[in-house]
């Protein structure tokens, strides 16, 4: 196990460097630079030149990249070209907002998906199965953006039950006004529920019908114990991998959700940074996202690795 983790960590470090290089290269291919974007519509060439020099954009790309990489190794992600704020600080501010959204969504989606998966998996073909499976498929087929607008139109503008945006709130302070979180978290949950619940459903159905389950049932083990001690651990192994994908999906989903609900998290921060050609910030965000994805997948591998041998033993 330790070897597995160690090997994965080395690969992860290489992956991060690759992401950094790719993002730097791609971003510098975009037309225009920060100076052009910042000065906007009415800038003269002279002004652009002045600002470009101030931001050191007149230096070659590779030179700036090496300097950035040197800093990044020491944990210094540089300063945002736009705001002058250290990139790490800027990302940190957005991270709290995104973490609130993603963690709440996970806290809802995991038990919900397991519940739906278990119910539908153990009663395949039943009316409940058809209704629940149908419902999550419908949710899955509505794009995030449309779903968000639909929910806002209904629950905020029509019924007036919930605020339409989080206007002005951010970070941990969001937890003090849970009402603004209901719709954004709801959208994220709806989007991730389907794939995860279906994965649980398949796993549970398989484990439920497997020989070992029949075997322990024949020995008179109570149904609850069959479910929790045998069916679930075996049925959930594939779902853990799906959960890792769901976390990636959540990170992708927050970009849309943050825009629609005016939440200043890492998703909108990343989009703004790309729009503004703010290279150090773009790099920093890309690294954080990549690191999250790598870490989540690593954890998922380890967890399913721990779950799977059980099946081997029992079966």
């Amino acid at each position: 196990m330790a070897v597995l983790v160690l090997r994965r960590l080395v690969v992860a470090a290489l992956q991060l460097v690759a992401v950094a290089v790719a993002v730097f290269a791609l971003t510098s291919l975009l037309p225009g630079d920060t100076a052009v974007v910042v000065l906007g519509e009415h800038a003269t060439e002279e002004q652009v030149a002045v600002l470009r020099a101030q931001l050191q954009l007149d230096r070659p790309v590779w030179e700036r990249f090496l300097e950035w990489l040197g800093g990044a190794v020491h944990g210094d992600l540089g300063r945002s070209l736009l705001t002058g704020v250290p990139v790490a600080e800027e990302i940190g501010r957005g991270l709290a907002t995104t973490a609130v959204l993603a963690l709440l969504a996970l806290a809802v989606v995991v038990p919900l998906a397991v519940a739906v998966g278990v119910v539908t998996g153990r009663r395949r073909g039943s009316r409940l199965d058809v209704v629940l499976t149908g419902a999550v498929v419908v949710l899955d087929s509505v794009p995030e953006f449309a779903l968000a607008l639909l929910l806002v139109a209904l629950f905020s503008l029509q019924l007036g039950w919930l605020p339409a945006t989080a206007a002005g709130a951010s970070g941990w302070e969001l937890l003090a006004q849970p009402a603004v979180l209901v719709l954004p978290v709801g959208v994220l949950v709806c989007r991730q529920l389907c794939a995860l619940a279906r994965q649980v459903r398949v796993g549970v159905a398989e484990a439920d019908g497997a020989d070992f389950a029949t075997h322990v049932r024949m020995h008179g083990l109570p149904e609850r114990a069959v479910l929790f001690r045998h069916v679930l651990p075996n049925g959930l192994a594939p779902a853990v991998q799906q959960l890792a994908r769901a976390v990636d999906g959540l990170l992708g989903g927050v970009v849309v959700v943050e825009a629609v609900f005016a939440l200043p998290g890492t998703g909108s921060g990343f989009v703004d940074a790309v729009m503004a050609r703010d290279l150090p910030a773009v790099q920093g965000y890309a690294l954080v996202f990549a690191a999250t994805t790598i870490a989540v997948n690593l954890v998922a591998d380890v967890v399913s690795h721990r779950l799977v041998p059980q099946r081997e033993v029992v079966a």
């Binding site: 974007v37 519509e41 101030q54 806002v152 002005g168 709130a169 849970p178």
Partner: protein, 506 residues
């Protein structure tokens, strides 16, 4: 057993949602009493409270709350006094005397002539990279001076009887002499700084010592909401009281809603196509004339602006001071346009029309213009470019591009966009010694009526030659909650635009 399991799991999962919806009523966000919340898009632009580098509308709105300018613009972009209560040029139009009113900064210091000189020097300094720098290029700062605490003299290198319009331009706010840091800025505006972080809300509070009297509003909060539909939703659900910059589509929505009111300023933004007259094919004046006759302006306003605007007449500044009166409206004449294209030997010529999503009407306008011009024998194809760098891209690329300009004084427009020395903001590449001479003569003319006549002549010349096809003026739309009074529709950059100190919440 399974029933219990399911119930337990569902309870856990839904717990968060239920708890959240129970507190929903308490969390409804109308803010404390007397705090107006205004939602603005912040874009990716630099977020700073330095008024001299502000380039986004939200920067300008915040600058307007914290600082003041020497003059402001009425709706027709004519000059009205603010910090300057009196001014007069000498006979040559190069030496301007200004007297300041009695006004104080938020920390109690009086606003002095030295503060004005410091501010204008800072704007003119290339290192500041101020968008207002062009307005002060002709100022001889070595010769300019403060005559007393409240009187100063600005000396110009060339005569300009329209110089006061420079003092009301965006990014010309007066800051205390010596200011270099703007993290907690001190100004002389109606609101004082409370808190701000880039990308986050800015909170300002009433400045009781403002020279124009105590603001009616206690507090003002600028809330960043980039997504246009989110801005409108926030307004309709009562989270904010004012939303800046809404599309024609949302304008229609707001008009039909009892919770909000649309404030539409006519002539807000000029919508035009810049035909580059300094390169083929539009270096041929016949093709420029063909394009001007070939577009259907009424159809463009009806479709691209959803009817929320007015037809243009190939000249900036409709409805503004110095716009020449009684210009006949240019109408579509397909036969004449086709004949001109044929005469120029350009039948079937392929032309790319650059456009982008930077303005919501650009893309549909480009499609329609391409179609209209294909009816006169040109093969025009819209080409969509990236929004963030669009206005810089079209300076160097292409032969025809959609462009727009918000309200600003006609003389500023002519100086910065049409005159030969105008440089990069002259999107059509127009260069005409005749126009330059006429414009220079106008600015050097003491007599206001004669000056207006000369400016009219200069504009008529530019209208025929400069390659700017002004097809319309889009309304400038903001929306306010019904609970707000004291705000009115005003064109961008004017004094009453985004001015909140006389607003009241009721």
């Amino acid at each position: 057993m399974t029933t219990v399991t399911r119930r337990t799991l569902l309870k856990g999962a839904l717990g968060t949602l239920t708890a959240a919806s129970l507190t929903a009523c308490g969390g409804a966000a109308s803010g404390p009493d007397g705090r107006l919340r205004a939602a603005f898009p912040i874009g990716g632009g630099e977020e700073s409270l330095d008024p001299h580098t502000s380039s986004l509308f939200v920067d300008q709105a915040r600058a307007k709350a914290l600082f003041d300018t020497l003059v402001g613009y009425a709706d027709d972009m004519s000059v009205v006094p603010r910090l300057a209560e009196w001014w007069e040029p000498d006979a040559t139009g190069t030496r301007w005397s200004i007297r300041l009113r009695e006004a104080r900064f938020h920390d109690g210091r009086p606003v002095t002539a030295e503060d004005v000189l410091y501010s204008y020097r800072r704007i003119a300094d290339p290192a500041t990279a101020s968008p207002a720098r062009k307005q002060f290029l002709d100022v001889d700062f070595a010769a300019s001076r403060a005559r007393s605490a409240t009187e100063l003299e600005l000396v110009l290198r060339a005569p300009n009887f329209e110089f006061p319009s420079a003092w009301g331009a965006p990014a010309t706010e007066i800051v205390p002499a010596g200011t270099t840091e703007f993290t907690a800025p001190v100004g002389s505006g109606p609101f004082r700084f409370v808190s701000f972080q880039p990308g986050r809300p800015a909170v300002f509070t009433r400045f009781d010592g403002h020279w124009a009297g105590r603001p009616t509003l206690d507090e003002l909060e600028f809330v960043p909401i980039n997504d246009e539909s989110a801005r409108v939703a926030a307004l309709l659900s009562g989270q904010v009281h004012y939303v800046h910059d809404i599309s024609a589509h949302s304008a229609a929505l707001v008009q039909g809603d009892s919770r909000a009111e649309l404030l539409a300023a006519p002539h807000g933004t000029m919508q035009a196509v810049a035909l580059k007259v300094d390169r083929p094919p539009f270096h041929d004046p016949r093709l420029v004339r063909a394009a001007l006759s070939g577009v259907d302006r009424d159809a463009l306003v009806a479709v691209a602006l959803n009817g929320h605007g007015q037809v243009g007449n190939d000249l900036f500044g409709k409805g503004l001071e110095h716009y020449p009166p009684d210009l006949p409206q240019r109408e579509r004449d397909v036969d004449r346009a086709r004949a001109l294209v044929r005469e120029a030997g350009a039948e079937g010529l392929a032309v790319d029309l650059l456009t982008s999503s930077v303005d919501p009407c650009f893309e549909s306008a480009a499609t329609l213009i391409a179609q209209q011009l294909s009816e006169i024998g040109l093969r025009v194809a819209p080409r969509i470019g990236p929004a963030e760098t669009y206005f810089s891209d079209i300076r160097t690329h292409g032969v025809a591009a959609l462009t727009r300009t918000a309200s600003l004084p006609v003389t500023t427009f002519l100086a910065e966009r049409v005159r030969s020395g105008a440089g990069t903001a002259n999107y059509t590449g127009y260069r005409s010694p005749e126009f330059d001479a006429l414009f220079h003569r106008a600015l050097s003319t003491v007599d206001a009526a004669e000056r207006a006549r000369l400016l009219g002549n200069a504009q008529r010349l530019a209208r025929d030659e400069s390659g700017l096809l002004v097809w319309g003026f889009s309304d400038w739309n903001v929306a306010v909650s019904r609970s707000v009074s004291g705000l009115r529709a005003a064109p961008p950059n004017s004094l009453d635009w985004a001015r909140f100190e006389r607003a009241a919440l009721g």
